[in-house]
């Protein structure tokens, strides 16, 4: 009987240790490959590096009209980001007037921020200030090299739609016959700023135009992308923007992992020294707890952020709480002269109400934090909620089971081994 229980106990310990080992180091057996949790969990922008922007529409529109405008804006932003070639952009509407954009792994974050928020209202204006064609009339827009007197220079080549071609042909015909050069200029204006002012020498009837300026090829292709994606239906103000270089994010991640590791180690030692056998059981429980939280984050696709890591480490500290509560109760029962077995049963029973009540009140705070939290605070709320649930499960079920197992296994009356 005793041997059986001992084997069972050791088996559980072995499973927990190997699971922890796999999660730390990863494993590869034949075709089965498990990457370590550190590399397989989704990272938030603050750890992976990238861009975060919150835009707010400057408009008085309301209700269905606002909704429509915002939907259009999101489509335009989506197109722009497609043009940037970012994998898995995250674009969400926040509230009624805001759009939150997350881009991971952008080479030039500042440029991306600039580009996303631009209204990009493109207009071709004649010298009288009349709009000839606008960005809406453009079918194709791409960066190209064009031969000029100064060699090959990058330009943006445009192609108008039918309506645009007609209007453009008319305007250029009128302008080309004018005498004074100033009257022959067609201004290409982006968001109220003249980006090019070519002189029209002949009628352009093929519906093609070129914006030349002193562009680098990057600038030309950025501009081409903006024009292609179209103008935002409303002006957007950048409320908040954040850009994190990839290696700074990585450094933050490494350091947080180190902090977490050290914190866990100290807590483990503390529990072991202070509570002896129950402490060891609690440590096994904590290891299981940590694995549950990490893997459920992975399964739920929760992104790990810096505040999330802080929440996780805090929750490990708090997870100890349920165990401490129970163990203190067990100690008390033992001091009252009960046997170890009876003390464990009674201790668990009597601690249960307080474990439940205290954790549920904390859970209330966690849910509110998640529900009303903004940005990173939300991430903190998620880990806190997951942590509390996992901690209740491990302390109420797993620790109790393991603790019972230890009495069956060693059959001692030495209450000191149980921390009394």
């Amino acid at each position: 009987m005793k041997i059986k229980k001992l084997i069972l106990f050791l088996l559980i310990v072995a499973i927990v240790i190997s699971a922890a080992f796999v999660s730390l180091r990863g494993i590869e057996i034949g075709k089965l490959k498990v990457t370590r949790i550190k590399d397989s969990i989704d990272l938030g922008l603050d750890l992976a590096g990238g861009v975060y922007v919150t835009l707010e529409a400057e408009t008085d529109l309301q209700g269905a009209e606002l909704q429509k405008t915002m939907d259009q804006a999101i489509i335009v932003i989506n197109r722009r980001i497609d043009g940037l070639g970012v994998a898995e952009p995250n674009i969400v509407k926040e509230g009624s007037k805001r759009i939150g954009i997350e881009l991971a792994g952008v080479d030039n974050p500042q440029e991306a921020i600039d580009m996303i928020g631009k209204t990009a209202q493109l207009q071709f204006i004649d010298p009288d200030g009349k709009e000839v064609v606008s960005g809406k009339n453009i079918k194709v827009s791409e960066a190209r090299f064009q031969k000029t007197d100064f060699g090959e220079t990058p330009v943006v080549a445009l192609e108008f739609d039918k309506d645009g071609s007609k209007k453009f042909a008319e305007a250029t015909r009128e302008l080309s016959v004018k005498e004074i050069p100033e009257d022959k200029i067609i201004y290409i204006v982006l968001d109220g700023e003249i980006i090019s002012a070519p002189i029209v020498e002949e009628t352009i009837s093929d519906g093609k135009g070129v914006i030349s300026g002193e562009f680098t090829i990057e600038e030309a292709s950025g501009l081409a992308n903006l024009i292609r994606a179209g103008a935002l239906p409303v002006e957007m103000k950048t409320l908040q923007s954040r850009s994190i270089g990839p290696s700074l994010g990585l450094e933050a991640y490494e350091r947080s992992i180190k902090a977490g590791g050290i914190a866990i180690l100290i807590i483990f030692l503390f529990m072991l020294i202070y509570y002896k056998i129950p402490g060891m059981v609690a440590d096994i429980g904590l290891a299981i707890y940590t694995l549950i939280v990490l893997y459920s984050m992975k399964l739920l696709g929760v992104k790990l952020t810096l505040p999330g890591i802080a929440g996780l480490i805090l929750s490990i500290g708090m997870a100890v709480d349920a165990n401490v509560l129970i163990f203190e109760r067990i100690k008390e029962e033992m001091r009252n002269g009960k046997s170890i077995r009876a003390s464990i049963d009674h201790g668990f029973k009597r601690a249960l109400a307080s474990v439940l009540d205290s954790n549920i009140t904390t859970l209330i705070a966690g849910v509110v934090l998640y529900y009303f939290g903004i940005g990173p605070i939300k991430g903190f709320g998620v880990t806190l909620i997951l942590g509390i649930i996992a901690s209740m499960i491990t302390s109420v079920f797993i620790t109790k089971y393991l603790l019972r197992l230890t009495i069956d296994m060693i059959d001692t009356h030495n209450t000191r081994l149980y921390g009394a």
Binding site: D46, T54, P109, Q110, I113, D114, T238, L239, Q240, S241, R242, S243, L248, G249, A252, R255, S256, K258, A259, G260, I262, A263, I266, I267, F270, M271, Y274, L306, P307, A310, G311, I313, L314, G317, M318, V320, D321, V324, L325, E328, E332, R350, A353, S354, D357, S358, I360, T361, T362, I364, A365, G366, V368, L369, F372, G375, P376, I377, F380, L384
Partner: protein
């Protein structure tokens, strides 16, 4: 240990901190972080040690008022905080100045920009969330215990928040959105501690209804003491380690948590029960 008898001392300690804090808040105001007042934060990895003066020289061209601090033990990384809303071009210019000055090979920086309107919104949201959380707890505790327990627990929470605000006001630590997150977390943490003690009081009064409330309280706190200290200790260890090792973004979260955990433990032991005792009409 007679908590009830010495309650005035415990109240006094808290009151002094809170009053000084409130005075500081009234006169100097809280030192709000740039995510509240609006501005730009820029973190640049230089890759070699530099002095704040060197960085200041460069920054003077852009903003003479900017605050510059080191991060990292090697003093090779700086965070610049300015109340100015730098354009992305200006940010690029600043970074490039540093790149040129210090021959940085790999440009590595992160920037954050905030509009001041966000600050008011965060504050408003935080206030609403705290009220909702407090209301939820009030209902739950009233249901599981009784109204007086719930009220006492909420007052203890208010105490914790006031202490955290006071510490920030007294030392002029920048209060930012991480600080708000910490306050909300402490709401959850401290209530946990308080409930454990109240649970004990509830149990003790069931077992022995003849004893005086004062006795029951003192006895319950004594019995919960080891647990309260051990839990606070393990949590505190975790947070202190985070503070020491963590990066700046983690430090700003860990620091208020340290104050909050201490305040929360203190209020659970020395404030919540005496207030409940008072509410019970003693």
């Amino acid at each position: 240990m007679n908590i009830i008898k010495k309650r005035k001392i415990f109240y006094g300690i808290s009151l002094i901190i809170i009053i000084v804090g409130l005075i500081m808040m009234g006169t100097r105001g809280l030192n709000y972080g740039i995510d509240f007042v609006g501005g730009t934060s820029l973190q640049i990895k230089i890759g070699k040690a530099l002095t704040v003066e060197q960085a200041r020289e460069i920054m003077d061209k852009f903003d003479k008022e900017a605050s510059i601090i080191h991060v990292g033990n090697a003093r090779d990384e700086i965070i610049i905080k300015s109340n100015k809303d730098f354009s992305n071009n200006e940010i690029d210019d600043i970074v490039n100045e540093f790149v040129d000055e210090f021959d940085i090979e790999q440009k590595e920086f992160q920037s954050e920009k905030f509009e001041s309107t966000m600050g008011d919104e965060i504050k408003r949201k935080a206030l609403i969330s705290s009220l909702i959380a407090a209301f939820g707890m009030l209902i739950y505790i009233t249901w599981r215990f009784r109204l007086n327990f719930a009220v006492a627990a909420i007052i203890a929470l208010l105490h914790d928040i006031l202490i955290m605000l006071s510490v920030y006001a007294i030392f002029g630590i920048p209060a930012n959105s991480a600080f708000i997150a910490a306050i909300l977390t402490i709401l959850g943490y401290s209530i946990n501690d308080t409930i454990v003690i109240f649970d004990r009081i509830r149990e003790e009064s069931r077992i022995n209804s003849k004893r005086s409330i004062e006795d029951i309280i003192n006895h319950s706190i004594k019995k919960s003491l080891a647990r309260t200290i051990n839990t606070s200790l393990t949590t505190l260890i975790a947070v202190v380690v985070l503070y020491i090792i963590g990066v700046e973004a983690v430090k700003v979260l860990a620091l208020p948590l340290i104050f909050g955990i201490i305040a929360g433990t203190y209020s659970s032991l020395f404030i919540a029960s005496p207030i409940w005792w008072r509410l019970e009409g003693r």
